[in-house]
Point group: C2
Chain length 193, copies 2
């Protein structure tokens, strides 16, 4: 395979990139932005060499403990369980959570072979059992798989005497009720404060 | 900047990739497809090192003459002018053209500072003046800039006594007339055979 076709094939491994956009990307880089090619190649190599997982919360980290886990000023009573580092980043951006995290790096999906072992459930239970943890907030997504994951984890935590909560389901801020789906409205009603 | 943010920034240089998709790509690669990261880094480096421009037609090529220019069995009477290697690839895929090419690597765009020099107009005129060339097919796009480019090149070719033609404008194969824009229908009428 020639260098151009190899590049197009490699770009197609990026999520959401098909043959046409991979081709457009390759042509654009070669024609208009060769410095970006070097930068991207270096960034990819550096990322895969330097980014590992925090040994405590499993999020991406260049150090053995991530910056959140290493921050002793956070609220040790709260442990928030999310599916991905992206979800964690979203929660951090809200600025309204000061506890620690545990990142599952997935969600239970028996059909795809994702079991409690893959999401680190045992490590989570161990982490949640540490003295000081008073509440585990299950912030998995509100999809069928995310809900099933939260359910399984809540049961396991309850069996060990650890209290867990779930994020409130409700109407997104800024939405007009008219355009919100009925299931969300129903949940917003039942979770009303 | 940490390795993750550097990677996200580098991915944002790809055309059509904003902050959100760059983030999704980075997370996906690091979490699910680390082998693809190495492959992409290597493909990028190899591409930028090995892919240059054909010295005769200016398309991407790993050799000083591209495979089309190096093919002596093609029809030397025809020279097709396209804007990009992607356009050339599309024409090649039709299997209905057997002449040679000249790739402008752009189109005239005075506002963006793209002049006749940037698109290699002088080299094109020299190439078109070679003995044996009987017709230059101007296959630039049917946009305002593509049409202007074709117009300027046609004038320059005519001044040198070289015949040029333009691809036929018309109704796309498989379209229902009802859904084709009026300008296209008008052109299809005037270009009717
Ligand atoms: Zn951590
Ligand atoms: Zn060539």
């Amino acid at each position: 395979m020639n260098a151009l076709d190899s590049l197009i094939e490699a770009l197609k491994r990026l999520p959401g990139v098909g043959q046409k956009s991979a081709q457009r990307m390759a042509y654009h880089l070669l024609q208009h932005d060769r410095p970006a090619v070097h930068r991207l190649a270096d960034a990819l190599t550096a990322a895969v060499e330097r980014i590992h997982h925090c040994e405590r919360c499993h999020t991406f980290s260049e150090t053995s403990l991530c910056s959140v886990c290493a921050d002793a000023t956070r609220d040790a009573r709260l442990l928030c369980v999310v599916e991905t580092p992206a979800d964690q980043a979203a929660l951090e951006r809200t600025g309204s959570y000061r506890g620690y995290y545990f990142v599952l790096l997935g969600r239970l999906s028996p059909l795809d072979g994702v079991s409690t072992r893959q999401i680190g459930a045992a490590e989570l239970l161990q982490r949640a059992a540490e003295s000081g943890v008073e509440e585990v907030i299950l912030a998995t997504s509100f999809t069928a798989e995310g809900e099933a994951t939260a359910h399984v984890l809540a049961e396991a935590l309850r069996a060990r005497g650890v209290r867990s909560t779930r994020l409130a389901r409700g109407v997104p801020v800024g939405s007009e009720l008219e355009f919100v789906d009925l299931g969300t409205i129903a949940h917003a009603l039942s979770d009303r404060r």
